[in-house]
Symmetry: C2
Subunit: 343 residues, 2 copies
């Protein structure tokens, strides 16, 4: 298995990327890496060159750059070169912690969509936090690849998420839910009412109905499907609130004198467990599902753990052949016919 | 000042409603109440009948009922009777903790919209949680009155929210932001790109640009404007995550043995302060802005504090004449011309 890595993407690249890749290499004998990046910066960071091939690139796509333009112009950027390696069969998968838009664009225009898929969905694994049900993540898409989604896109997301949950999270018959503004079947705007019906009609899906954004972390569903706009708003609000709660506790302890500091020492195991549970790094990167190869994007602030986890995730995707299964499913038009007949 | 109260709405009505109303009555000499509800249930709960007039009603609108149908058919329900009292000038404002949809419908069809307002917005006051900036709330609308919003609706929401922040939160020149999927001006779907331009063109607004849902509680804006769909998703995700964090801490303490319990005792003041800060009851009810009179809806789970706070809020709305100011502003078409010229 060969993974093409953008060594330059992310706030702390190439340092944490290389370290995370070396960790993953040391864990798994079957992994090889093609590292794309500025040789002068990357080479000194490599501790052990075993199963690492460094390919020098001369351009970089910055975090704020206009994505489509950037991937068209910067042919020798680490993102474009790594994506091309996948396209030409030199690598099996793509990893980056860089500019999300540029990764999406490289995924769509260079690596390409699976036949039958209109739009890929950015897929995050989020924690089930409900006490008593912790330990498993759930699949959440589209967490922001598309600002505007059509009815058929959400049906595609449901199937893409199902294959991912079955293969990578090892959940046999994943419960699929639609993110909506109420639990009842008739809730939502026109799009979500229509999608609810479509999902209920999909024979291959174990569709359990609507879920509200306030219940996301409760573990009620294994796959939560949404348009990219709403999912992005709910995900960012969730992440922001969790961070804010941690900030408030930290601030209270720092300003609470000796008593609070002692209290913190006693409760440290509790806080650590919560911090670990809620730490996005534990759940790997966001996967761009619907493409012809695994494309995984770690957060810009990704650390070594996040990088290593994302590589493990890619390895599982390759091992389980989740993409081959998806390709086969979508190659048969009847499989997704119900979901798109209204358009 | 007379306030028409639906005594039957809410999970713990009429008990907590009556108790909250009596608290508010005892605090403010200038308040009188018309209580609409089942006399047999309500009367025994009243400790002191001073400035309370109980009007018997024979019907109730339940939490799950279809709203428009319910207010058309149940003419003798507490919601419809209380709204009619406002319509006929017998009361200055309306309060309920009942079926949100029915309150919206009663507000729109019985009390009526301000001339020039296409759709009212459900307005919540949320806490600024950022350490160092706490103590003030911010205005958030539309938190869910409309599942689908048009460009001009969001411009109206911005002005409605500004008047509310100026008068009720006493913020002289409120900073108005648009909830969007990125900070830059060109972010968002077509609707949000267009609204961003419109808001930037409003002379009366101190528009500071986009805000992301992950930064809502940071205190960067005094008024956050959004379509009802997105605001509802982000608000519920925020509330749900805050609750989940509290659940996790509680669970950790309960299962952490003596050490954790001792830690909790020491950190209790910190937890209490956070619990108080994040408790929605502290910030009053949700106001349906854009109607001809104050219409305030407490959460279905409202307690005595929430009820009393909501009445205080109504009193401030009446005292500051915020609705008269809004009426005057919208009576001049030029004031909101820029925002709607594209439609």
């Amino acid at each position: 298995m060969k993974i093409a890595v953008d060594a330059m993407g992310g706030d702390r690249a190439p340092q944490v990327i290389i370290e995370g890749i070396e960790n993953a290499r040391d864990q798994f004998n079957d992994l090889e890496f093609l590292l794309y990046g500025d040789e002068q910066k990357v080479k000194p960071l490599i501790k052990n060159p075993e199963r690492l091939t460094l390919i020098n690139t001369t351009e970089e796509i910055a975090m704020g750059e206009e994505p489509v333009r950037a991937i068209r112009r910067k042919k020798d950027s680490s993102i474009v070169r790594a994506a091309n390696a996948v396209k030409h069969g030199e690598a099996d998968a793509f990893f980056s912690a860089g500019n999300t838009g540029a990764i999406l664009a490289a995924g769509i225009f260079i690596i390409g969509r699976i036949k039958g898929i209109d739009r890929p969905g950015l897929t995050s694994i989020l924690p089930v936090a409900q006490p008593g049900q912790q330990g498993q993540g759930f699949v959440y898409l589209d967490s922001g690849a598309n600002a505007e989604s059509k009815e058929k896109n959400l049906v595609e997301f449901a199937h893409l998420g199902r294959f991912y949950a079955q293969n990578v999270l090892n959940i046999q018959d994943p419960r699929v839910a639609l993110l909506n503004n109420g639990a009842e079947a008739d809730k939502g705007d026109q799009l979500h009412k229509a999608v609810h019906q479509d999902l209920a009609n999909q024979k291959a899906l174990n569709f359990i109905g609507n879920i509200e954004s306030g219940d996301l972390l409760h573990g009620a569903a294994d796959v939560v499907v949404s348009d990219g706009w709403t999912a992005n708003a709910a995900l960012k609000a969730t992440e922001g609130s969790v961070r804010m709660m941690m900030t408030l506790i930290k601030d209270g302890i720092l300003n609470g004198g000796l008593r609070a500091k002692l209290g913190y020492l006693l409760l440290r195991p509790v806080f650590h467990r919560i911090g670990h549970l809620m730490n996005p790094s534990q759940y790997g990167g966001a996967v761009l599902l619907g493409l012809k190869a695994p494309v995984v994007k770690a957060h810009g602030s990704a650390d070594v753990t996040a990088t290593t986890k994302a590589i493990q995730q890619i390895r599982t995707m390759i091992n389980t052949k989740v993409i081959d299964q998806t390709v086969e499913f979508f190659s048969n038009e009847e499989n997704v016919d119900n979901g798109t007949k209204n358009e």
